[in-house]
Symmetry: C2
Subunit: 369 residues, 2 copies
């Protein structure tokens, strides 16, 4: 079932959104080559936004590849981690842009994981009411999910990703070579979002992940390449149909309602986003079973895969009330009613409300209450 | 030349932007009537954002008119003035939205002048990546300019309106009755933006303003009604052709490059925005003359009208270097080159760079240097 991916030539997946369409390029060593950036508009200046972990590894190579497209290439290193995905850190991007005299043609580059991508994207959406930006994701999670589709945001003390914009990049450049430096914990977190595409959209891909999990955890290039490409294809199909999440796109949040509550209750950054989503998928599968969409064998199969991926499957115990309170301010809630993404049959997901009593059962079954 | 406007039935001007189209309703007493809001989506909750000056005058009436469309109608009063158009104040809107458990269907109402409208619009653009909002402008300036066309923003210490979004409201409701409580200084500030539409687009309207200036300054309802309607019509025509200011729309910034520099140099709120634009138009007209677009008689005629409208025509003396430095970070600048909106013939405007030496002459001629 594994279609071999040549690591020499980049693969291309297109996000079809009319005048906001753009390509995802997938390959090893892409960020070293000026040719990778041929579709990016030339301008007087560029700003590379990265963090203190990723910056030392890849900034110099990216700067070199961009020389010739921009007269001035500025760099801003932000502190690493979800705890910094806030206004204070975002404002450092605006300070840098204005301090360097950047204008409406300046191109921003997000070099890093999901936090860097979300903040740089929102800064690009808002600076002078919108400047071009390019995603250069360096984590598995960002390559398979957060860098694709134009969701940008920062956190608010009362809720995750509450302040942001739908704003599409000019291009996403997934350089598989950057995954070599990814710590195992970050790799597992990324696998959560890879696994997600199975139960909601493609059970054949789910089976492939089950068969190739050891290769993925061993960071075998061909396995990672296929996981990134298939994930991007599915995300492109979904986002192309529903850019602003009026319907279908919400299925990509499978596991995220429970997961965001975990992140919020623990404090941002305690668990990685992917870890919270992994555990959240177990909880959402339990809820799906109670709503009649899947059987207990399916729940067990998904739970086993998540656990084997190195992700938590038991929720932190904060009590049902705290979880319910946090989930009521989820973006999918309406009029105080929590709406969950649940599996209605393997490979297909829908949004459903659920009785509080049923949610309490799930929370108890998963260790949360 | 004055087309009589009935004050009994609202006038309607449409902004044609495909799926983002919306109406501007113009009339006296509109905010008292539930029927004015029939096009606004119903939802569990609404948030009225206003300021401490306007709130006590109109919040109760608006709340009453909205009862029946929303189960809960929350109110947030912000401090008044351009000095508060910053992140700290914006964040109070997010705090209120999250504190009240507002969701993606919640409708925001901007009840006030340009500052309230710009901040509420940007909050609506960003809260949960976008919620619906309605502009209820209560100043002449907001009714003829800032509430129409979807430009939203906050200021940054290094530049005005540097952080924001293009985000269209569901509706703009210009209640002419609110202009009765407008202080003369605010009325004059609004007249600056009314006058603007003449030299850039419609010299017949310019002549009408010249003939009716006493009636406008005396706040005669029929004169104000015509000024608001014609201004909205022109803005609608321009914005309908160029929503995101890739070209034509920039002409609406006539006088604003000089004006923003004045506001920034003096400190936001020292002069009203309209006052800075009034003086900025005199400067831009001087520049237009030097570039050959208009003659000295035209410059004198425009200057006279601006002065008779109660607006400053002599710029604060900060020296040429300070002005040039501030204008280089204007959003229309590119690669460090300032691009000015100038009149190429009466009733028509274009964007042009200008030699620094010529700009210095203009600054000296207008008292700035």
């Amino acid at each position: 079932m594994l279609t071999p991916v040549s690591l020499a030539a980049p693969q291309r997946v297109d996000i079809a959104l009319g005048e906001r369409s753009y390509p995802i390029l997938i390959g090893a060593g892409l960020l070293d080559h000026p040719a990778s950036f041929e579709a990016v508009p030339k301008a007087a200046s560029a700003l590379i936004v990265t963090n203190t972990t990723v910056g030392p590894l890849y900034t110099a190579a990216l700067q070199k590849a961009l020389t010739g497209r921009f007269a001035a290439i500025h760099v801003l290193e932000l502190p690493d981690g979800e705890a910094h995905k806030d206004w204070t850190t975002l404002n450092r991007i605006f300070d840098a842009l204005l301090g360097h005299g950047c204008d409406r043609k300046t191109v921003l580059f997000a070099l890093g994981g999901g936090v860097v991508g979300d903040m740089t994207g929102f800064a690009a959406a808002s600076y002078m009411r919108g400047v071009p930006f390019v995603q250069v994701p360096t984590t598995l999670l960002a390559q398979v999910d957060s860098s694709v589709g134009g969701k940008t945001a920062i956190n608010h003390p009362l809720g995750k990703n509450m302040i942001g914009a739908f704003y599409q990049p000019q291009m996403v450049l997934c350089d598989l070579a950057t995954l070599k430096t990814l710590p195992p914990r970050e790799l597992s977190a990324g696998l959560a979002e890879v696994i997600k595409y199975g139960p909601i959209y493609d059970m054949a891909f789910f089976e492939w992940i089950e068969a190739n999990l050891p290769a993925l955890r061993a960071q075998e290039p061909a396995a990672l390449a296929h996981a990134v490409r298939r994930s991007c294809e599915i995300k492109a199909e979904v986002v192309g149909q529903d850019e602003r999440e009026n319907g279908l796109r919400a299925i990509l949040n499978f596991g995220h309602t429970f997961g965001h509550a975990i992140e919020s209750a623990l404090g941002y950054g305690e668990w990685l986003h992917g870890e919270a989503v992994g555990c959240g998928m177990v909880m959402a599968a339990q809820l799906s079973q109670r709503l009649g969409g899947v059987d207990s064998a399916f729940v067990q199969r998904l739970t086993t895969l998540i656990e084997k991926a190195g992700l938590p499957v038991v929720a932190p115990r904060f009590g049902a009330e705290r979880y319910l309170e946090l989930m009521r301010i989820d973006k999918k809630s309406e009029g105080g009613e929590i709406r969950f993404v649940v599996i209605d049959k393997p490979g297909s997901a829908v949004m459903r409300p659920a009785p509080d009593a049923m949610v309490r059962e799930v929370l108890a079954a998963c260790g949360a209450a």
